[in-house]
């Protein structure tokens, strides 16, 4: 069923035995086939990037009827000295660092469990996967209640004889609370990716390891983990890219508060652009975020590569 079995990385580079230079006609047809996508991506991906880069060097309020005013590196200089922006970068980094290990680690554990032959496995997998397909808006609303003074978590605390806590109004717990929800939301999707990775590991490797007398842990350490590396790199990168752009859950659960403790950079960009009408400064923030995401993903990929 999975495409992986038909076109895994191993076969992806297969070349025809005889390689002929395609005719001019065929090259043109190729160009025609790709043209809509190229044109679209040029207009709606590449151009906006360049336009955004230009805007980041300007001062521009959409409410004023004038055009963007060039200010050079002014926006970037202002960001370097903006406590608010620096705090948002810290919050973003902390959020990613907090969610990532759990979202990946627990998902891997669940995938190992769900990879076994137990009764009703389809049902368990579907259940674990469910949070992935529910819109973030909807789950955030539920979690807002779970965390509310009369919500489920506080009722559990009360049952344990503990005092209720206003999770989302306390500077010390708000970001953690959002992170817990995000881990929960990410588990299913990551688990499924790991499952696909596990199933792509040849059974013969395990059999060979078992013949060598390897125990369960040794098999996991020397067969499963190395076999999962490509998936692991992908999962970690995708999670970083998504998590570093957290917005909807912040919008709904905390509105960036208290004391800016949950104001992620992406949330601040939205506020700066559409609450404060500063498109230029918001664009500059976006490019800093871009650099941050790029750096994070790069480090993650390099780190994973080195361990091989």
């Amino acid at each position: 069923m999975s495409v992986a079995t038909q076109a895994g990385p191993a076969t992806a580079r297969s070349r025809p035995a005889v390689r002929r230079r395609p005719s001019r006609r065929r090259r043109l047809i190729g160009l025609a086939f790709a043209a809509p996508a190229i044109a679209y991506l040029a207009v709606f991906q590449m151009f906006p990037m360049l336009y955004g880069l230009y805007l980041s060097f300007t001062s521009y309020s959409p409410l004023d009827r004038g055009a963007p005013r060039f200010v050079g590196l002014g926006n970037y200089a202002a960001l370097a000295g903006s406590a608010e922006f620096l705090q948002s970068v810290g919050v973003t980094v902390q959020f990613v660092a907090e969610v990532l290990p759990f979202a990946v680690g627990i998902a891997l554990g669940l995938a190992l469990l769900a990879n076994r032959r137990v009764r009703g496995i389809g049902l368990w997998r579907a259940g674990l996967f469910l949070p992935r397909i529910v819109p973030l808006t909807a789950v955030s609303l539920v979690w807002l209640w779970l965390y509310s003074p009369d919500g489920w978590f506080n009722s559990l605390l009360a049952d344990a004889g503990l005092r209720p806590h206003t999770w989302l109004l306390d500077e010390d717990t708000a970001l953690h609370a959002v992170a817990v929800m995000r881990v929960w939301k990410a588990l299913g999707g990551n688990m499924v990716l790991f499952l696909a990775g596990l199933q792509a590991i040849p059974k013969t490797l395990y059999e060979a390891a078992a013949l060598d007398g390897a125990g369960a842990w040794a098999r996991f350490r020397h067969v499963t983990l190395p076999g999962l590396r490509p998936v692991m790199v992908y999962v970690i990168t995708v999670n970083i890219v998504y998590l570093a752009q957290s917005f909807a859950e912040i919008f709904i659960l905390t509105g960036g508060g208290p004391l800016g403790s949950t104001t992620t950079t992406n949330f601040l960009i939205y506020q700066q652009a559409f609450q404060n009408n500063q498109f230029g400064s918001a664009s500059a923030m976006a490019f800093v975020l871009f650099a941050l995401i790029f750096a994070f993903s790069f480090v993650a990929m390099r780190g994973m590569g080195r361990r091989s």
């Binding site: 069923m1 309020s61 959409p62 409410l63 004023d64 009827r65 608010e84 003074p149 005092r163 206003t166 109004l169 500077e171 509105g255 508060g257 208290p258 004391l259 800016g260 939205y270 506020q271 559409f274 609450q275 404060n276 009408n277």
Partner: protein
């Protein structure tokens, strides 16, 4: 992977679900404003108000003028960004509602129309009747907004809880100092934390600036200098006001809890005053009336204090949200007709009643709604003490700056004087128009 019959069935089920929901939903949906129609945005989430406006008033207007009005209610927190985006986009509505504090900003960017001539064309009788609140819709002497109602905030209290604490509900606190002392007696603490608040002021985002304005005004101070070009909140009055506010939450003698929670937008039955989780709560007339409606058993146990004094007695209030005409509207005459309709005598009374707000017309103070609703009386009587947000172009941004620093002080991170000074330093350039 051929398309099996099962997948077709699934798809059909899914489509049917969507269509079913759509069919049910479109019944109550609003019509689209055609080329001759009018688009209107209202801020807020008050269910009785939305019900009245969308299901009764707008259809009446549509019938009377044979036009279509597309009306959208936007949450208070989202009205500014939504309007900004819509103005940038050129999709802003013909008429929109917003607080008086937003007026000056829209004037500066040329987004709203002057309404002086339209007002002048009204019958003299109407002009006089509306005069008191119209003042709140002016920027530099020019009328830009027509208030839909008046609003005010006062401290409401539970008489039964005061009695239980040995206080006389017939003579509630008259000063902020007395209120604090009473709050100490009314507060219930468990394990060192407040489980019932003695005195709860609005501390959610934006609302805490309004609370600060109330306290600051009572101390005899003001937010800005007379010309509106510099902050004035960082004087001794401001420090006293913010220290009072912050002290409510701090230490073993705290009398408030749930710092940052938004009580104003909670369903009335969940208001801390209704649930008994607070004995004295800052509230608007609308909230108090809604609480009494939601909990009839409490209706005669709720009292409202006149504005509390420090150096003087002031409280946040004045012209409530009002309507603006988009300067780019293609339908300005119709837009004005809609506004005229909303503040016409019977309509404005019904509107005020649904919103639980103060009627915008002076003549309504003696009308049926005002006299039959005892909880409204203190709010009408408090009118001279009302203090509104400053009408300066950068106000919304200045408010957000001030809000951020007040939050710091309330959380006990920064001393009050320091927070206000930092806010003044940050807001100074915005006010000076830099």
């Amino acid at each position: 992977m051929p398309l099996t019959a099962r997948r077709h069935v699934t798809l059909a089920v899914a489509c049917a679900g969507v269509l079913l929901a759509t069919a049910c939903g479109t019944g109550g949906g609003s019509g689209t404003g055609g080329p001759g129609g009018l688009t209107v945005w209202f801020p807020g989430n008050s269910a009785p108000e939305i019900e009245l406006v969308t299901k009764t008033l707008v259809p009446e207007f549509e019938k009377a003028h044979n036009v279509e009005v597309e009306i959208t209610y936007v949450d208070w927190g989202q009205i500014s960004p939504k309007l900004n985006a819509a103005f940038a986009a050129g999709t802003a509505p013909d008429v929109f509602g917003h607080g008086p504090a937003a007026a000056a900003g829209f004037v500066q960017t040329g987004r709203i129309d002057k309404l002086d001539e339209r007002i002048a064309a009204l019958p003299a009788e109407d002009r006089e009747d509306l005069a008191a609140y119209l003042e709140g819709g002016k920027v530099a002497g020019v009328q830009y907004m027509i208030p839909l109602s008046g609003q005010g905030t006062l401290i409401a209290y539970r008489e039964d809880l005061l009695t239980a604490a040995g206080l006389d509900p017939a003579s509630p606190p008259r000063t902020w100092a007395e209120a604090y002392q009473a709050a100490q007696k009314l507060t219930v603490r468990e394990d060192g934390a407040v489980s019932r608040a003695g005195l709860l002021l609005q501390s959610a985002k934006t609302q805490r600036v309004q609370t600060f304005l109330t306290l600051l005004g009572s101390e005899g101070g003001s937010l800005l200098t007379g010309d509106g070009r510099k902050p004035a909140w960082n004087g001794p009055e401001g420090t006293r006001a913010l220290e009072y506010f912050a002290r409510l939450y701090q230490g073993d003698t705290a009398v408030s809890n749930q710092l940052g929670a938004d009580f104003a937008n909670q369903p009335a039955a969940q208001n801390p005053l209704a649930t008994g989780k607070a004995a004295m709560v800052m509230a608007t007339s609308g909230q108090v009336i809604q609480i009494a409606k939601a909990r009839p058993d409490l209706a005669d146990k709720i009292g409202v204090m006149p504005p509390l004094e420090a150096a003087t007695a002031k409280t946040f209030g004045g012209a409530g949200p009002g309507l603006f005409v988009n300067a780019d509207s293609a339908n300005k005459d119709l837009a004005w007709k809609f506004i005229e309709f909303m503040v016409s005598r019977p309509v404005s009374d019904r509107y005020a009643q649904a919103a639980g707000a103060l009627p915008v017309r002076a003549s309504a103070a003696t009308g049926a709604y005002a006299s039959e609703q005892p909880l409204l009386k203190p709010f009408v009587e408090a009118a001279p003490a009302y203090l509104g947000s400053p009408n300066v172009p950068a106000w919304v941004q200045v408010r957000d700056v001030l809000d951020k620093h007040i939050e710091q002080a309330l959380a006990g991170k920064v001393p009050a004087a320091e927070a206000l000074a930092a806010a003044a330093a940050e807001a100074g350039p915005l006010l000076a128009g830099e």
